[in-house]
Each structure stands twice: as structure tokens, then as C-alpha cells.
Symmetry: C2
Subunit: 653 residues, 2 copies
């Protein structure tokens, strides 16, 4: 029997995700009835290989087996675990015990000769020849009268050849499991979102060229991805005015998500921003700064989109012949026409949308933030992402779905690379621990890569609205260190913008979604130096580039949260402590989970704060922490273990 | 999407088990992309039905749905969950909101008319007629100029007809799951094991007739199943002597598990015990006492078994032509020939063994204790039990496998009704809690029904060897109240026999496996009165007849263990407290999990001890307990809740 293969998700029906360079560890329960010994192998195949590779599995005890394989190629892999009864090993094991017990084993040697002969019959010629010689030796030993002549039955060499070439009766295979290997950026990324149109001189519409000028600053802060809201022509019909008012005033720029105008649709660029070539240039310029350019895939149209006249069947019509605009009754969004993914011409529409993605990939864009994917069919995304990934396994899709948990999980299961989360609304210690435990320690972690955003142009949480500089700082550190991917709606977060449209709303006042903004630092200054420190810590420390090793540590103060991440291969461990109270100094005693950290509580550890640079020495599991919101509300400690040297000087590594 | 259907085991590949009269509650995640409303139904089919039954599911929130079905027939059931987009409900919901928002809904009424018309096209004639009338009403309302005329669009009646007959686009079904419904005895049973041959007059071989004479006593003690070791002729070749010595003395009776002699094999009765008819008579007599007779299925042979000559191919041969006897090198068991389930004549052998089971079922035996099933192929058991269950779904098979966890679980997965467990060796509080949590609160509970045996003829644990009367009493209460099925090797347990063959051995001295025993009470007397009380509590309290509601309660003393079981339908709750220390009085404070018990900590509860009869009144969650091993080391409390009456007298129910 082969059972409980790990990793797996959705009972093996959901591909698990890893990144290039990961080592995949596969475990499984492999066992048989009776007392025979079993053997097991992990079989793996990359989509580009002609045949399967086999890696022997090692027993871990209690019928659990394990093997590891290096994931050295992007794309789809498949893996299965195969188990079988190892007749030769069983025979050899019993023979050893018979010999030790002083029994006559002559007849058993004849049995062994048969096993070796059977193996020879199926082995490649060179091996078969050697095996036949060994079978002969066993046979003659079995017939000899010398009780000490075992015919080499217990030789290690024979055992290892038989382990590979022995006949494998009753082989049993797990279902075939699928694995997607993606670039490191899929797991580890810091996103920076901005509206290019606000980058112009005062009262002038910014351009993609203006974005290029910002790149050194964004790169200096340590971001990996620059994400721009839709860059396409914006509809004029029913255009929304400033602060989402019903009627735009002359000169109002409209929402970039109302895509399509006379100038073109999803494959065009708003003339005020620049040209198609400007997008390609910006993508190249980004890459020179170690940044990937991300565009927005918002599959919806303004009433002025060319598709409305070119492809009327791509939209839903009402019995009176009018096209259905977006609605959430009684609310109406007359500036948006949803696409009808179930229209009679659905295949033409789906291919058209696939074409849009290919179009931008050809222009150098490999990262996409997908707008509201949960309002389009799961089947479409599964197909579209599958098609793109076959051609370009390095492409990253971030799912912008803020909806029910099962729907968000399903989008991740069908191929989205990263997912927005509920992080913005998880503020208390208990709920952060509960949510992170679900995201990192359950099956969800196999297919869903959370991206933590403390704000977006749509989300200015109440916590930020009523918060202080310390609130923004704490939320930044939490987002950037709890999960390996995070992002900020950049200028607003850097400058701690927190004025809501009105009380009870999560919309920004004077939102950039509907107007240009002239970003300038206020009395709180800027968080840029902290952001830079945090991103540097993320880049310097492999522990912060993964989620699976996240562990929480107990602190006797509900306003202080403590957690660690480690990368055993790199020998890297980071411990983060955050004061969740933006107003008051909080202190408490932390009980380190020394087993999870792999530290010896009887030796001191050195903690270097990667934000402030201060150094502390801690002893044992229980230590004191105190954080003042007026300074920095968080420690991001690099843990250095004490190494005893021959002279017993203190030395930390 | 339909996901995560519960109950399920092994990703839906393992049948889940229930007993007749249970109500099956099925839950599943059912959801769709977009904002459309979904609907879901549970579909069930007993193997004897021609078609599927459909039960509508109700939403529990967070995309989880539930439905219940009464399991009113023994045998195999299948069930699936089906989900679909409910277009009419979506339309109706939006229409309500449009109307509430004061919108013109004329065009929407035309949309509704279309939906009702489509439903009519697929509905049975009578319904179709009514639907067409409703569609007409909607159509004319849509065309009328009266804004208040909704054409009955929001009628509850229309909604309920459309819920059943509306067209169901994009239906989605879970994989088909399997469920075995077995008799209550499968879940709730008290086993009593005895060797009939010891029941004769002093130095005389007991008979099956002697067993009949014991039945009133066994029934009085409250047992449900009487299990006899193999009743077949016993081999003479290499027969083991008393205390498992190599050579039997003349007159030694041999081990009943060395099956087969000149007098016959698995379908014969040892002449000293009686005849085939005596087995049938005993089975009938048992049933008159409310007891089922259980026989032993030990599929192995003595060298004298008729099959050895009739079917030599059913045994494994060595290259020198001799038949392989049982071995665990260097140990040899020359009195036992294992059957070769992989022989060339395997199908003949398998059918022969199936015939053995059918043979005894025809003679009135419906319960079997299966000896060492893990040493025979899983495939054989799955096939054999499947064949029997198709004919007789009431038959019970108890798996006597004391082996590795995955193997024991697999035997349960492939059809064994009950399983022996590691209970005999789980003695400390922490390990009992850990083991019971695994057995009752994880997926294992869906397919494996544990049977707790404090002793067997093969297992006299060290704990019992060094124990006192209180040890036996405590182990009895634990076995009988932690799981709904338990058993004892009767005479030895009743009389607290605890002399081992030798120090370090779990074998009994003068074991009944090799000789007759004259059972007589020693200085410790008998546990029969306690056994009688415990079994009466089990029969009177439905809470003790199930495992799923087991919950542990914290006690601030590691020598005291406390747990409860409840049956919400019967309004029955039992709380058990056991002193695990056989030597000293132990006391402590118990913290009741009042939520699990469903009690109001602000009202007193009355506790009636079903063993001693004493009554206590407790208030609040924290209460004091003290147990003296010299009395009874356990409380089995029936919890009675305080009911406030109109005159506010105390009243408990």
C-alpha cells in the first residue's frame, strides 16, 4: 500500500507549488500485509523530460518513507511514490537470523539462487551476467556439504544490485501528483504600487517616462515589483468624477479601471501616459534596477471600449436589447460593462483575453495583478493561466480577490501565483496568529502564496485612519516579515496618508483612482528609511524569503507579538517582535520556543536588530522585551548562536 | 464547486461506517465564482434501491452546506453532493433589492418570465402547466405600465417550485462516497471470551453443552457476545505441551489454533467439544439470552489438516519439496503450516476460505474474531468480507491485529467491523488521552471501531501482573466506558488471574491455550458484581454506546482521568472519573468543559454514581473528586441537569 503522500493538496487533485532551487521532500506511508520487507521509490518527471527519474526512498520509521529531489527546472512536474515487496531483502534478513541462530540454511540458499536468477532474467545484459554468476554461487553453496559456505549470500554488493534489479512483485503506486515550479519571485516579492499620472509636474498629467525617473528611488527602497493600475484609454461615457461622484467635471481624468475609449482598449495605452513603446522601455528600465514591471488585468470594459461595437456578443444583453452594465442592486455602475464569459462566442472571447496577456508579455511584462478574478469563471482562469504557464512558466499572476475563503483558495488552486489576503483587517494578536497559522501551517500553504498589503487604493482601514506613525510602521513590519510577499500602495503608505472619504468608509479622500495627486510629505515625514531597512533585511535573510518555518513565540502581553522564521540550509534565523499598540510603550517576557529555533537555552544568543542596529545578548528561553511606539515599534532580530571555541571566547555566528 | 464533503475517509476512497438508526449528517463546501446564488442537494442511494434520493441542503454560512438522512437499512450506501447555480433565486434576490431601491423592474420581469418558461420546458406535465401560467403573468406584468404589478414574481410558492424545477446550469458533483451501515452490535458490544474445554467437571474435557450451562451467568453479567477460541479438531504432529513446551505429554490437549486433524479441519468440531449440531444449538441458546456466539477464524493449519493432503498447492513449498512451516527466524513453529494466499490455486483457496465463513454463518454464527489478519493479504480480506457483507450485512468481523498503526488502519479500511487496539499497553493518563483523541476525534473514527481488551489469552500485561484488585477494576471501567466496544478474556479477568509464565513474559502461567484450567475464586474474590454494574450502565445509557462525543476534562492530578460521553438525541450524559493509581487514594479538582457537556455552570447538577449508587450535587465547572482504590477506583456518573420549575423546587432530569 502507498498512502498519504506529502506534499499534496485537495486529495492530490490540486497542484502543489514550489520555486526553482527548492528541494522537494516527499514522504509517504508504504507498507504491506505480512512480514515481508518493502521498498519504495519516488518517481519524478518534469514536463520537458522524456522519461521518469527514480529516487530510492529511505524509511523514517512507523512505515513512513522519504526522498528528496532538487527542483532545477521551471514548469510542471509530476511525481508518484511506488512501493513493492522486497523479496530479496526479506530473504537476506531472514537468512542472517537463521545463520545467527545456527540453523542449516542450505535449502534457503537454493531459494536465494532462484530470486537472483529471476532478477537476471529482467536485468540489462551486463548486470544479468553478474547476477547469473552470483546465482550459480548460491546454487553450488546450497548443494555443498560445507555448512560455512554461504555462496556470498550476505554480500553488501549483491544486496545493492538486487535492491535495484530484484523482481518487484505487487508494485503499488500512489495517484500521480502535480507540482508547479515557479521563479523565486513567485514566493518572495515586495510590491510597490503607484499611479503614473500623479508623477507629472504640478497639475500636469504624469507619463510612463516620469515613472522611469522614480525607479532609482524605488529600487533604493528595495522593491522587487512595480505595479501600475491599468494604463489603457479611459472611457468617457458615465465617467466618474473626483471622489467617485456621479458626473465628471470637464478635465476629470476618470478611473483607470473603466477601460476602453475611441483610442483603444486592453491593448492600447492612454495617450496622456505614453505609447506602447514606452511600456516596453519602462519594463526594460525596471529590469535594469532589479525590478519587474507589473500591469493590471481588469477584464471589463467601459461603454466606449472598441469591443462593445466590434464584439457585441461578448456582453450580456437584457430583453430590451440594452447591454447589462455592472450592478449590485440597487447600486449601478453604468461606466462598466462586464464581459459575458458564458456568451455563445465564449471561445472567441476567452482567446481574445488570452491574446491580451500574450500581447503584454511580448512587451516585456511578466507580472500581472488580476482585478477581481472571483467575478469571472474559475474555468477561464484555469485555462488561461495554464496556457500562459506552458509557454512562460516564469509569469506571475496576483489574484486581487477579497471575497469568501473558499473562493480565494479555489483561485489559488487553479493557478494564481499569489493572493491578496485579509491581512489588512487582521489587527489583534490572536487573529494574526490564527490567520498566519492557517496560511503557513495547513494544506493551504501548499498552493496559496499570501501577499500581505497593509493598504491599497481601495483599502484604507479604520486602523490606519485612526492610527499614528507607529501604526504604519508596525503594519509595514508585520506585512513584510510575516509572509514572504507583501506590497504597499506606495506614495500613500510612505507618507502615511490616512484621510478617509468619510467616516465609516475605507476609500481615500481625494482618491487617486479618480484624480491626480501631488504627493508631498506632511508633518509625519516619510517611512522610506524604515521601508528601506525592512526590505534590506528581507533581501539579506533567506529566513524571511519563505513562510513554512514561521513559528510564534509566547509573550505575556497581548500587545506584543513575537514570531520567528528560519532557513536551515542557510543557517539563518530571524526573530520579530512587534508592539501592536501605536500609543503606549509595551513590555513583557517572551518565552522562546527553543526547539523551533534550534537553539541551546544553556548558551547565550546574540540578537542584532536589523532595523535599529542595536545588539542584545539573551540567555535561556525567557527574556524581556520593551518597545516604544515613539521610536520604532518593532525589532527584527537576526539571531546569532554562541559557538564555543577552543579558548572559550565568546563568538557568535 | 463542491469540495470537502464530510464524512469521508482516505480522500473518499475508504467507505465510512455507521450503524442502523444513525442519522447521517453530510456537509460540504459548495460555491461558485461570481455573485450568483448557489443551491445544493445531498443524493443518497442504498444498494437495494433502483434510484437516488435527493435531500435539499441548507447553508451553514461560509459556503458550508448540510443535510441529514436517516440510515434505515443495513448494507452499502452511496452518497454524493451536487451543487448548481440557482438562477431563479439570484434573480429573485436582485429583484427584491431593485424593488426596495425603487427601481423600474419591468425589463427584469421579462428576464424572470424566461427563467420560469425554461423550467416549464423540463418539468413534469402538471408542474409545467402551472409554471407556464406564472411565466405568462410575469410577461404581462413586464409589459404593463403599472409599476406596482410584479406579476407575482416574489411569491414564496413560485420560489419553492422553482427551487426544485428551475434549470440547473453548471451542476457540479462530488466524487461518489461509500457508506456501510451495520447493526448496532458493530459499534456497541461487550465480549466475553472463554475456553469451553475448561468447563467440564474436574479433570474432564468441557463441551459445548457445558457452555450452554454458563449462559445465564454470562447474560446476567450483561455481555453481548460470547467468543470461543477455535472449536476444530487439533493437530497431533508437533503438538505443544503445557506452558508451550516443545513436546506434548500424553493427554495434553494442544493449542486450539493448531487447526486440523484426521477428524477434520475448519468445518469440523473437535469431538471432545461436541458436534456441528452442538454449535447450532449453542448459537440458538445464546440468542435466547440476548447474546451472539462468536467463533474464531484462524486461517492456518496443523500438519494433520485434511487440506495438507487434499490441497497441497494451498501451502508454500521449499526447493527440497517440504512444506514451509511458520517461522520468525530463528524461531520455528513446526505445528503450524501457513496457507499460501499467492499460490497458483489462490482462487480455489480463497473460495474455500469464503466457504468456511459461509458454513458457520449457516449454523447461526454471525460474529467472527479473526486471528492475525495482518499476516494474510489485504486483498483477500477485502474480497471475502465484501462477499459476505453483500449476502449478510449484519455479520461482524473483529480484527485481531496487534501490529503497526498503518496496517491496523488498513484492515479497518478494507472492511473489518471492529479492531483490537493498543489499549492493553496504554496506561498513563497522557497516553490514554492521546490515543483516545486519535481514535475518536480524527478521520480514523470514520472507519475503525476500536475494541478495548484489558486482557486476552495472549496478553497479560505487566500492569496487571503487578497490579491489585483496583488495577483490574480500573482497567475494566476504562475499557468499558472509553470505547463502546470492549471485551475480556472472561474467567481470567473476573478472577483477576495475574501469574505470568515467567518474569518479562505476557503469557499466562498454566495458560488455557495449552491445557484445561479449573477456574475458582482466590483471595481477591471476583469482579463479577462490578462487571455487572458496568455493563448495566452501558446498556442503560446511550451515551456509552458511541465514541464520537468522548471529551476529556482537566483534573489537576495526573493519577485521575476524567471524561464524558453524551447522546444529544437521548439527552443522556455520562461522566467517568478513574483513579489510575491502584495503591493510593487520589483526589483533585476537576474543571468540567461545560460547553462540551452543554450544562449551565450557574445551575447545580446532580451526579448519580452508576457503580456505587451514591449521589452528589456539583455547582459550577470546578469540583472536588476523591477515589479510594480500596473501595471502587472509579465513578461512572449519570449527569442530571437542574430544571427550574414554576415553584422553583429543585428538580433534576
Amino acid at each position: 500500500m502507498v498512502e498519504s503522500v506529502r506534499p499534496s493538496a485537495g486529495c492530490g487533485r490540486v497542484p502543489v507549488k514550489r520555486v526553482a532551487g527548492d528541494r522537494l521532500e516527499v514522504t509517504a506511508d508504504v507498507f504491506a500485509d505480512g512480514h515481508d520487507r518493502v521498498a519504495a521509490a519516488l518517481r519524478v518527471k518534469h514536463e520537458g523530460w522524456g522519461r521518469w527519474r527514480e529516487v530510492p526512498m529511505e524509511p523514517l520509521g512507523n512505515d513512513r518513507w522519504a526522498a528528496r529531489v532538487e527542483l532545477d527546472a521551471l514548469g510542471r512536474w509530476r511525481y508518484v511514490v511506488r512501493g513493492w515487496v522486497d523479496r530479496f531483502a526479506t530473504w537476506r534478513d531472514e537468512l542472517e537470523r537463521r545463520v545467527a541462530g545456527g540453523q542449516d540454511v542450505k535449502v534457503e540458499l537454493l531459494v536465494g539462487a532462484q530470486l537472483v536468477d529471476e532478477a537476471a532474467a529482467n536485468a540489462p545484459q551486463a548486470v544479468a551476467q553478474r547476477l547469473r554468476v552470483r546465482a550459480e554461487r548460491l546454487l553450488s553453496a546450497g548443494r555443498s556439504t560445507d555448512p560455512a559456505d554461504l555462496g556470498g549470500a550476505l554480500d553488501e554488493e549483491l544486496a545493492s544490485v538486487m535492491a535495484i534489479h530484484g523482481v518487484r512483485p505487487h508494485p503499488c503506486e500512489s495517484p500521480e501528483l502535480e507540482l508547479w515550479v515557479e521563479p523565486l519571485l513567485a514566493r518572495f516579492s515586495a510590491w510597490y504600487e503607484l499611479f503614473p499620472r500623479s508623477l507629472g509636474a504640478p497639475d500636469e498629467h504624469g507619463t510612463l517616462r516620469d515613472v522611469e525617473a522614480e525607479l532609482p528611488r524605488i529600487a533604493e527602497m528595495g522593491f522587487d515589483i512595480l505595479y501600475l493600475p491599468p494604463v489603457h484609454p479611459i472611457g468617457r461615457t458615465a465617467r466618474k468624477g473626483r471622489n467617485n461622484t456621479e458626473a465628471a467635471e470637464p478635465g476629470d481624468v476618470g478611473s483607470p479601471w473603466a477601460i476602453g475609449a475611441a483610442e483603444g482598449g486592453h491593448q492600447a495605452v492612454l495617450p496622456e501616459l505614453g505609447t506602447l513603446d514606452d511600456v516596453s522601455c519602462l519594463a526594460s528600465a525596471c529590469r535594469e534596477h532589479g525590478i519587474e514591471l507589473a500591469l493590471d488585468l481588469a477584464f471589463q470594459c467601459s461603454p466606449d471600449h472598441p469591443w462593445v461595437t466590434e464584439h457585441p456578443t461578448w456582453f450580456r444583453h437584457r430583453p430590451d436589447g440594452s447591454i447589462r452594465y455592472a450592478e449590485n442592486p440597487p447600486k449601478r455602475y453604468q461606466d462598466i460593462y462586464p464581459l459575458d464569459f458564458e456568451s455563445e462566442d465564449w471561445d472567441e472571447l476567452w482567446n481574445g483575453l488570452l491574446g491580451v496577456v500574450r500581447f503584454w508579455i511580448e512587451r516585456g511584462v511578466t507580472v500581472f495583478r488580476v482585478d477581481n478574478p472571483h467575478t469571472k469563471p474559475f474555468a477561464f482562469w484555469e485555462w488561461m493561466i495554464g496556457e500562459i504557464k506552458r509557454e512562460r512558466p516564469d509569469v506571475v499572476f496576483l489574484s486581487e480577490a477579497f471575497t469568501r475563503p473558499r473562493v480565494m483558495e479555489r483561485l489559488a488552486k487553479i493557478g494564481f501565483t499569489q493572493s491578496y489576503t485579509y491581512f489588512a483587517w487582521r489587527t489583534a494578536k490572536w487573529e494574526l496568529i490564527q490567520y498566519l497559522t492557517e496560511l503557513t501551517q495547513t494544506e493551504v500553504a501548499e498552493y496559496m502564496r499570501p501577499s500581505f498589503w497593509p493598504n491599497t487604493p481601495d483599502i484604507l482601514t479604520e486602523q490606519l485612519q485612526i492610527g499614528t506613525r507607529a501604526t504604519f510602521a508596525a503594519r509595514l513590519v508585520l506585512a513584510a516579515t510575516m509572509t514572504a510577499s507583501y506590497g504597499i500602495y506606495g506614495p500613500a503608505f510612505e507618507l502615511m496618508e490616512r484621510r478617509p472619504l468619510r467616516a465609516g468608509s475605507e476609500e481615500y479622500l481625494d482618491s487617486e483612482k479618480y484624480q491626480l495627486r501631488d504627493w508631498a510629505a506632511g508633518p509625519d515625514g516619510t517611512l522610506a528609511p524604515l521601508i528601506t531597512s525592512v526590505n534590506r533585511a528581507r533581501r539579506d535573510h533567506p529566513a524571511l524569503q519563505r513562510n513554512d518555518t514561521l513559528r510564534f513565540h509566547s509573550v505575556d502581553n497581548d500587545m506584543l507579538i513575537a514570531y520567528s522564521k528560519s532557513d536551515p540550509d542557510a543557517g539563518d534565523t530571524v526573530l520579530v517582535v512587534v508592539n501592536l499598540d501605536p500609543n503606549y510603550t509595551q513590555s513583557g517576557w517572551i518565552d522562546l520556543d527553543v526547539d523551533a529555533l534550534g537553539i541551546d537555552p544553556s548558551s547565550p544568543i546574540q540578537l542584532v536588530d536589523l532595523l535599529g542596529g542595536d545588539t542584545y545578548i539573551w540567555s535561556g528561553a525567557r527574556n524581556y522585551v520593551e518597545l516604544r511606539p515613539s521610536d520604532c515599534p518593532a525589532h527584527v532580530f537576526h539571531l546569532r548562536r554562541y559557538l564555543r571555541t577552543e579558548h572559550d571566547f565568546e563568538y557568535f555566528a
